[in-house]
Structure formats: structure tokens, C-alpha cells
């Protein structure tokens, strides 16, 4: 066990898999000599050489399509999008080719696409997005969104092991702000299994990624008034329906929280499922807190108004508590 940042935990998991399995390679823009825009692969090229840590041209299509071809030929590629936002340039290759290849052609495509996502540092409309719901909608893809260093390591290893295309949403705001004990040995965290971040009895908060910590701060502020349970989904596709329903039935009040835009965000799916399957266990309408339906703005006061804040969650929890 040693203390690691969220970013170091991802690096550690990736490096361990590369040492263990020579089929694993990394490809992306500036991932080699430079070590990646956020330095997740710093020092990797020295250790593994230029053909396992591949600096690609500025070509998201070539990166993801190249990973697909290499995976079908038996490799275990891990692609880095410099920012999650740029995955739009590779949409076709995830959605048209990789996602459907198993179903229609019987060919598994075991690739991982790492997606530094999320806002909170004035990245503006093109360096701040959380596009997980767009991909969770596509049958054949898996979407993982770790919230802690230990999960980041265990889930990157699970993602590499998984025989399907996995989108690994790593939240940039957590990269260096979050530090915790991470086991040194290799371990996996199952994809599709939620984690109870905080146990409570009065209200369930269903969330993932950086919002887990926003929810935790809000719960702390209210700890003398309301007993809040926080369910960290860890992956939105597949998502742990059973854990969510169990928590909803236990507390009877649910707040769904995410950093992505509200309309069509993955929270809508969660709220609809609870309404369908646990309606009679509810004591209040399900409440959603999410970003408004706008692009992510640049200027700090605008961005702060866009991303759900602790005060927003506190207000939502109070409202539910009083219902």
C-alpha cells in the first residue's frame, strides 16, 4: 500500500499491465517523449520503447481505428485521447466499427480509450466535457468513470482485461487533487459494480466521477441534519441497477447528480429506472442535479454556475429532506 494521486494510480495500473502482458501498448498524441498532456505515461517510452508507447500523428480516427485493427489481430491497445472532447473525431470508429463488431461479425474488439474529462479549471467548451452518456447509449461499448485512486487503478486493469471496447473517463479535476492509499500489487475492480461511498438512511445520492466528492462535501455539511447515502456507480455502462434500487428502497428519497448536461444525461436513465422499478418505495419525487443544457463556458463565474457545486447539492438535499 502506498499513497498515490488519482493520476499516479492510473499510471501505476497501466504500467503494471504493460509489464505483465506484452500485448498491451499505448498510443496517442504526445504520449511518448512528452509523457502525455497530463503525464500519465511519463517515462513509459524509456521503459517499453517506441513501438509500445506510440506517438501518433494528430489523428484521432487513425488512433482508434488503429487500435481496433491491432486488437482484432490480438493486441491489447490503450489509446489516449488528449482530452475527452476530442473523441468526437473518433466517434465513427467507436460507434460504427468497434461497438458493433462483436454483435454483427462475432469479432471482439478489446480496446481501452482513455478520456481525460470534466471541467473546473476554465478549459472552456472543448476541454471540459463529460460525454459519457453519448457512449453509454451505444450497445457494445462500456463506460467507466472512477472517482478514487484505488478504483482508478483497479478499473484501468479491468478495462484492459475486458474483451470489449471500454471508454475510461478519468476526471482531470481529480488527477492531482485526490491522494489516497492504493495497493501496490495488481488487482481488478469489477466493471458494473457500484461502491457505497457513504452509508446513510435518509436520502440516496446516485453519482459518479468527481461529483462523488461534491456529494460527500454536501453530506458533511448536513451531517447533523440528514443521513446521506452516496452510491458511486464507478461505471455507467454497465451500471449497477441492483445497488441503486436497493439504496433507493432503503432511503426512499433519491437525488441523481452528474456533471454532464441535464437533458438526456445518464441521470435520466437512472431516474426512469427507479421510477419504473421502485416507485412504491419512494417518499418524494426523484430529483436531478446536473449541468444546464449549454456548452461548458470558459470564464470562472460562468463555469462555476455550470458545474454543480456543493451548495447546489446541499440545497437539493434539504429540499428532499423536507419533502
Amino acid at each position: 500500500m502506498s499513497e498515490k494521486t488519482y493520476l499516479q494510480a492510473i499510471s501505476d495500473g497501466l504500467r503494471q499491465e504493460m509489464r505483465r502482458d506484452e500485448r498491451v501498448f499505448v498510443i496517442g498524441e504526445d504520449v511518448g517523449v512528452y509523457g502525455g498532456a497530463f503525464k500519465v505515461t511519463l517515462g513509459f517510452q524509456e521503459e517499453f520503447g517506441p513501438w509500445r508507447v506510440i506517438d501518433s500523428p494528430l489523428s484521432e480516427t487513425a488512433i482508434v481505428a488503429g487500435c481496433t485493427g491491432a486488437a482484432i489481430m490480438g493486441m491489447r491497445p490503450v489509446a489516449e485521447m488528449q482530452f475527452a472532447d476530442f473523441v468526437s473525431c473518433a466517434w465513427d470508429h467507436l460507434v460504427t466499427v468497434a461497438a458493433k463488431q462483436r454483435y454483427r461479425a462475432g469479432t471482439p474488439v478489446p480496446i481501452v480509450v482513455r478520456l481525460p474529462s470534466g471541467g473546473g479549471f476554465s478549459g472552456g467548451p472543448f476541454h471540459s466535457q463529460n460525454p459519457e452518456s453519448s457512449f453509454a447509449h451505444i450497445p457494445g461499448l462500456k463506460c467507466v468513470c472512477p472517482a478514487t485512486p484505488a478504483d482508478a487503478k483497479g478499473l484501468i486493469i479491468s478495462a484492459i482485461e475486458d474483451p470489449n471496447p471500454v471508454l475510461f473517463f478519468e476526471h482531470k479535476h481529480l488527477y492531482r487533487r485526490l491522494k489516497a492509499d492504493v495497493p501496490d500489487e495488481r488487482y481488478t475492480v469489477p466493471i458494473g459494480k457500484a461502491r457505497t461511498h457513504l452509508e446513510g438512511d435518509d436520502i440516496s445520492v446516485i453519482t459518479w466521477g468527481a461529483m462523488v466528492h461534491t456529494a460527500a462535501e454536501a453530506a458533511k455539511e448536513l451531517e447533523d441534519e440528514v443521513s446521506v447515502e452516496i452510491i458511486d456507480l464507478r461505471s455507467v455502462m454497465p451500471w449497477d441497477k441492483a445497488a441503486v434500487l436497493e439504496s433507493a428502497r432503503k432511503t426512499s428519497k433519491v437525488l441523481v447528480l452528474h456533471e454532464d448536461n441535464r437533458t438526456g444525461g445518464f441521470g435520466a436513465e437512472i431516474a426512469a429506472t427507479i421510477a419504473e422499478d421502485a416507485f412504491e418505495d419512494l417518499d418524494a419525487p426523484i430529483r436531478r442535479i446536473a449541468a444546464p443544457d449549454t456548452p461548458v463556458p470558459f470564464s470562472p463565474p460562468l463555469e462555476k454556475a455550470f458545474i454543480p457545486q456543493v451548495s447546489d447539492v446541499v440545497a437539493g438535499l434539504k429540499e428532499l429532506a423536507e419533502y
Partner: protein, 347 residues
């Protein structure tokens, strides 16, 4: 612009130097007949209402497809498209499975999950195409990347049409392959019409093969109705890639002899163009060549065409016996399991 134009082969000796003996030539002829036969029979089945959806053929492109596939090694891989039935045939896909695929039956390579030529047998080194052209081109580059990382002497072949040459996937795939000198051969089936769009509305260079220079590799133009010329150029390019010489772009020139798909009567293609290219029919052309240069006589010719006819008849019968998929299979196979990874390429 300096692209090389391929020369025709004029004797059995030249063919032998290029790597084919007389038996191989007869196999090529048989594969050409099977290829056209599958599509002609398929067209009839479509009109009989036995094939749902739409139906595409590669009439006029048979020699290009068979010629390239004949030059591929057993461990090479490729991403053939909807005009390249000859690649599937030459790599050994059994025709009855192709008919089963057309008819949406359980024994089609896609088990009814996808239709028409959206199929491939990975065990034979082929990857199933998607409709978004040329999405499989950079995927083939990825196959070549795997070969390069593992230092394997294998080559990937990436097909695309002159229409798809306008898309960014073509550029990104070729650029990356050129930068890394990957073992991949790009084959452009230039059949002059992208649905109803003629070449002058699709690109502004003289030959698409001219573009190879921009990516730092060689471009070659070949007459796609000449199976031996196509074979020889493909063989050169594939062996060059195998030896570490990097990619080649082969532009194979043909005319799409039918509409984009069966619903399209191709009214927009000048009648004279069809007449001109009908005189260069690739199969008739090779048949004459075999009679003149390889002593193929009536008896041998009849034996080959008779056996192809029997094969196709039996194949259709067998395909029609294949069951339609059960609706309960609808949700199966969206996600892969670890056992699925046990394929020949996942070592």
C-alpha cells in the same frame, strides 16, 4: 504526376516469374466464375424475394478482387468491400455460407445480424466491412501496426473506393501508415462512379494513385480488368511491405457495370461507356488469354464452368436449408466474453 502504370503480362513464362503456375491460373479462372456466379444467382434470389434488404454486386470488378487476393499470403489479412466478393471466394469462404448471409440465415457468417457483403471469416484473415466507407481502411492500418509491433512478416490489405477517397479516414490511415512505414497495401477500386457521382466531382488529381506521393510511398495504376496485371502489382506491393518497404497505393481502374445496388438502373452512366467496358469484360478477357497462352481447350473450360455451376446450385440448396435466426437470439452477443478472444489472431 509520376505514378507508374502497370504493364500487361503476355506469356506463361512471365506469369511463372510472377509466381503462378498453370494450375494456379485455372484456380484464378474458377474463382472469377464463382465470384460472378454468386452475384448473378444472388440477383435472381433477390428478385424472387428470397433476399431481404438490398443487393450489391461487383460486376466488372471480379478480376481486381481475385487478382489481389491471389497475391496475398496465407497469414495476411484484409478488409474487402462490397465490390470485392472475389476476395472472399479466393480466401476460401464457402459459397453456401455467402448465400445464407444474403438470405439472413443462421449459417451466414453474421448469423443474420448483418446483411449482404457485411461479412467476413476472420479465420481466413478477413475483417467484416461496415457501410461507412472507408472506415475499414484505417482499421487495416491497425492490423499492420500489430504486425509491426510484433515483428511478424505479415501484410494487411485495405480496400477503398474512389468515392471514399474523399473522406478523412483515407487520409488519416494513409498518413499514419506512411509515417510508420507499416506493412499495408492500399487498393483503390476505382470504378468511376460513387453511386451517381462521377470522378470529376470526387477528386481533382489525374489519378488517385498520385496521392501516394503525398504520403511518402509509391502509387501504381493498374487496369482492373486484367487479372494478371493486378496480381503482379499486388504481389510486388505485398512482398515489398513484407520486407519492410512500407505501403503502396494501387489504383485499379474498372467500370461499375451495374447500378450502385439493384434498385439503381445507373441511367446517369453514358451507354457508350458501358459498351466500351463490356468489351473489356474481365472474365472474358482472361478466358481468351488462357486459350491463347495456356492451352485451355473446350473440354477443360467446360469442366471448370460445369463444376462451378454445380457448386452454386448445391450452395443455394444448402443455404435455403439453413434456418432463419430465432427472435430469442436478438439480444445475444452484444458484448464479448473472455472465451470469444480465442481466435487465431489472439495469440
Amino acid at each position: 504526376m509520376a505514378v507508374r502504370e502497370a504493364e500487361p503480362l503476355s506469356s506463361l513464362r512471365e506469369v511463372r516469374e510472377a509466381g503462378l503456375d498453370r494450375e494456379d491460373l485455372l484456380d484464378v479462372y474458377r474463382n472469377l466464375l464463382i465470384t460472378r456466379g454468386i452475384e448473378e444467382r444472388g440477383h435472381i434470389l433477390y428478385k424472387q424475394g428470397k433476399i431481404p434488404g438490398s443487393f450489391y454486386t461487383g460486376r466488372g470488378n471480379e478480376a481486381a478482387a481475385v487478382g489481389i487476393a491471389t497475391a496475398m499470403g496465407p497469414d495476411d489479412v484484409g478488409t474487402p468491400l462490397h465490390r470485392d466478393m472475389g476476395v472472399h471466394v479466393t480466401r476460401g469462404v464457402e459459397p453456401w455460407r455467402i448465400f445464407a448471409q444474403y438470405m439472413g440465415r443462421s449459417d451466414g457468417p453474421s448469423k443474420g445480424k448483418d446483411g449482404n457483403v457485411h461479412m467476413a471469416d476472420l479465420k481466413l484473415g478477413l475483417l467484416a466491412m461496415v457501410s461507412h466507407l472507408p472506415a475499414m481502411l484505417p482499421v487495416a492500418v491497425g492490423c499492420a501496426l500489430a504486425f509491426r509491433i510484433r515483428n511478424e512478416r505479415r501484410v494487411a490489405v485495405a480496400w477503398f473506393g474512389e468515392g471514399a477517397a474523399a473522406r478523412g479516414d483515407t487520409h488519416e490511415g494513409m498518413n499514419f501508415a506512411g509515417v510508420r512505414r507499416l506493412p499495408v497495401v492500399f487498393v483503390c477500386d476505382n470504378n468511376q462512379w460513387a453511386y451517381s457521382t462521377p470522378t470529376h466531382l470526387g477528386y481533382s488529381v489525374e489519378h488517385l494513385a498520385d496521392r501516394a506521393a503525398a504520403y511518402g510511398f509509391e502509387g501504381v495504376v493498374v487496369d482492373g480488368t486484367d487479372v494478371l496485371a493486378v496480381y503482379r502489382e499486388a504481389k510486388r506491393a505485398i512482398e515489398k511491405a513484407r520486407e519492410g518497404g512500407g505501403p503502396t497505393l494501387i489504383e485499379s481502374q474498372t467500370l461499375r457495370m451495374e447500378g450502385h445496388a439493384v434498385h439503381d438502373d445507373a441511367f446517369y452512366v453514358p451507354k457508350e461507356l458501358f459498351e466500351e467496358w463490356a468489351r473489356r469484360d474481365p472474365i472474358e478477357r482472361f478466358r481468351s488469354w488462357l486459350r491463347e497462352n495456356a492451352e485451355m481447350g473446350d473440354e477443360e473450360e467446360d469442366e471448370i464452368s460445369g463444376s462451378v455451376k454445380r457448386l452454386l446450385g448445391e450452395s443455394i440448396r444448402r443455404a435455403e436449408e439453413s434456418p432463419l435466426p430465432d427472435p430469442s437470439e436478438l439480444t445475444e452477443g452484444v458484448y464479448a466474453t473472455p472465451e470469444d478472444l480465442d481466435t487465431p489472431h489472439h495469440k
